[in-house]
Symmetry: C2
Subunit: 351 residues, 2 copies
DNA sequence: TTGAAAGCGATACCAA
DNA sequence: TTGGTATCGCTTTCAA
């Protein structure tokens, strides 16, 4: 078995208190320090974190729970969170729940029973009573990216609504009227926010909302592909499309390639969070880029503050503006909408 | 604070032994059982896993450590491992090390000190003394996908070498001679194995190895893209290419699209692990598919067996054959190699 | 500066 | 079937 403090103490000829003190950075008498260091080295001693945690009820570990690993956004968030935590001497326990709120509850429980000191969570569902329960248990919880309804909790969000609103407004300014939105799951906070941004922009410009132009998907590449393929089969095609999620954007790109759609002449494309791909494809992708790293760092620092007992400004909801990756996939509208054609003066026969 | 066993015992009017017994599935006298159940419910009692672990030195948790989350292969593995472990009442602590063996050592340590019962590990480096150390500490370690040099350890691998060998052989059978390989990092076990498979196939068919046709990359989409772009600039172009990793395949696809290369007429493409994309692109991708889920399950079950004390067949190295996703991206070689042209009979003037 | 000892929240043995 | 209690490995108070 592994050596314990007692073994080290015996070997060094001191009491276990002395070992503990050394481990925790206290100063010992020179002679004792040497003896302790030797004993530790010789026995290959390492403190047992479980015992430490039990004693201090403090694990220097933060639980990180995301709906799925199959998302570049979540992965970037995880990486940034880990990095930030590490800087402060904390570790991360990472978990996913397959997008299922029930599984999320189970995993949350698993993490809490591992006595993490706090939790950073990208919530899966529209509501989240189990998160409220955790909050009531006084475990510091910081939500990232999404805010379930009726939950009073620290949260770090980006301005989904405004980002999409701005994207659609700029398309309208370029003369587009037939603007499609390929949206994520209706249950997801971000997807709803983005949908609202889309609707607000249209309403603001007096452009009627065409039901067929809004596609709800589960956010995967496959469904993004399918949605774009379907949009192109509409009797009246969109002249612009906003793919409101990373994977959806890839799906749209694949569909555009397959259908040989000319971008941006036939179709303007605005993507989401397509850092890696956007410069490799031709034309380069115009897209909304959420500053995930920034958000993740904010969340990590906030949860550490809460763990440290600083409840300043609770519940703090921070909203970070999105950025833009300028690309060539967006252009002036060159397509005359069928509606215009049909409402012509009548001087020319309709084809 | 949260309720402890003692609280429950007091409330139920029994000893803590009785509570412990109940928690661990023992049978109590009807009357006591009711009392205990009530007390537990009323206090919202949940056993403290830390204390359990300290006492039993047993956490029902397996550490899972991968080089990076930014890989569909690793993610699929993680998901399958989690699922399998869950079936057996185990949880997973998941971690990545950014492909850095030094960081891997740190994370391994972190996991071990969280007293995981065992570890499933996709090793990052070419050698791994720190893993050997863990093995010597009698912590069950099962390697997945890769086997560092000189490490005696349970491992679950796929037949990288044979898979690529078969791929290249079939390309040769279709008349290809100029076959390029876009390989992963030279340090990676799988990348080396695949390179060997490529070389064996060429040697077996008497096809000379052209140095320019072998591209070493870091395995990212960007480098796959770059490598394919470069290959197409060679004075003598390949007529077929094997992209020996998932992300590399995506990169190749992007390059092929950008350069407007006709697949398979101008270039046959064999990909790797491209489950999701391969059917969406046109032409559909021909690719080697490693049965990740199967491998991951095998690894999970093996580590649980080891945790259970069953050392049967140690060290067990299992090798699972790859599968194929048949696609349209591979065809007969239609390109006459320059070498042949130049060694023509001389009856026609060379252009 | 250091030692002795209590206790964190569980498990499990020995008696009863 | 149940209670009392030693114990897991550590932190930390109280005395020395």
């Amino acid at each position: 078995m592994a050596a314990t403090m007692k073994d080290v103490a015996r070997r060094a000829g001191v009491s276990i208190y002395t070992i503990s003190k050394y481990i925790n950075g206290g100063t010992l008498k020179e002679k004792n320090r040497i003896a302790v260091e030797n004993a530790i080295r010789e026995l290959g001693y390492r403190p047992n974190t479980i015992a430490q945690s039990l004693r201090t009820s403090y694990s220097r570990t933060i639980g990180v729970l995301v709906p799925t690993f199959h998302s570049a956004y979540n992965l970037a968030a995880i990486t940034a969170i880990e990095e930030t935590l590490e800087k402060f001497g904390y570790g991360a326990l990472i978990s996913d729940c397959g997008g299922d709120p029930a599984a999320e509850e189970g995993k949350l429980d698993f993490l809490l029973r591992k006595t993490v000191d706090g939790i950073i969570l990208i919530p899966a569902g529209r509501t989240a009573p189990h998160i409220a329960k955790a909050v009531r248990r006084n475990v510091p919880v910081v939500l990232l990216d999404r805010l379930p309804e009726g939950l009073e909790c620290d949260a770090v969000l980006s301005d989904n609504r405004d980002a999409v609103k701005a994207a659609v407004q700029s398309l309208i300014a370029l003369g587009h009227k037939n603007i499609a939105l390929i949206a994520g799951p209706e249950d997801a906070f971000t997807a709803r926010e983005r949908l609202y941004g889309y609707m607000e922009a249209l309403r603001g410009a007096g452009v009627p909302l065409v039901k067929d132009f809004v596609r709800h998907t589960n956010g995967t590449m496959e469904e993004g592909f399918r949605a774009m393929m379907d949009l192109w089969l509409l009797p009246e095609r969109p002249s612009a499309v906003v793919a409101a999620e990373n994977e959806l954007t890839t799906g749209v790109f694949l569909a555009v390639t397959k259908r040989r759609i000319f971008v941006p002449d036939e179709l303007s494309v605005v993507g989401f969070d397509t850092q890696a791909v956007s410069e490799l494809v031709r034309p380069t992708l115009h897209s909304v880029v959420q500053p995930v790293e920034k958000l993740a760092q904010t969340a990590a620092k906030l949860v550490l503050r809460r763990v440290g007992g600083d409840l300043n400004g609770y519940p703090r909801v921070s909203i970070t503006p999105s950025e833009w990756k300028i690309g060539e996939s967006v252009g002036r509208c060159l397509v005359v909408p069928a509606a215009t054609r049909m409402s012509g003066t009548g001087r020319f026969p309709r084809v």
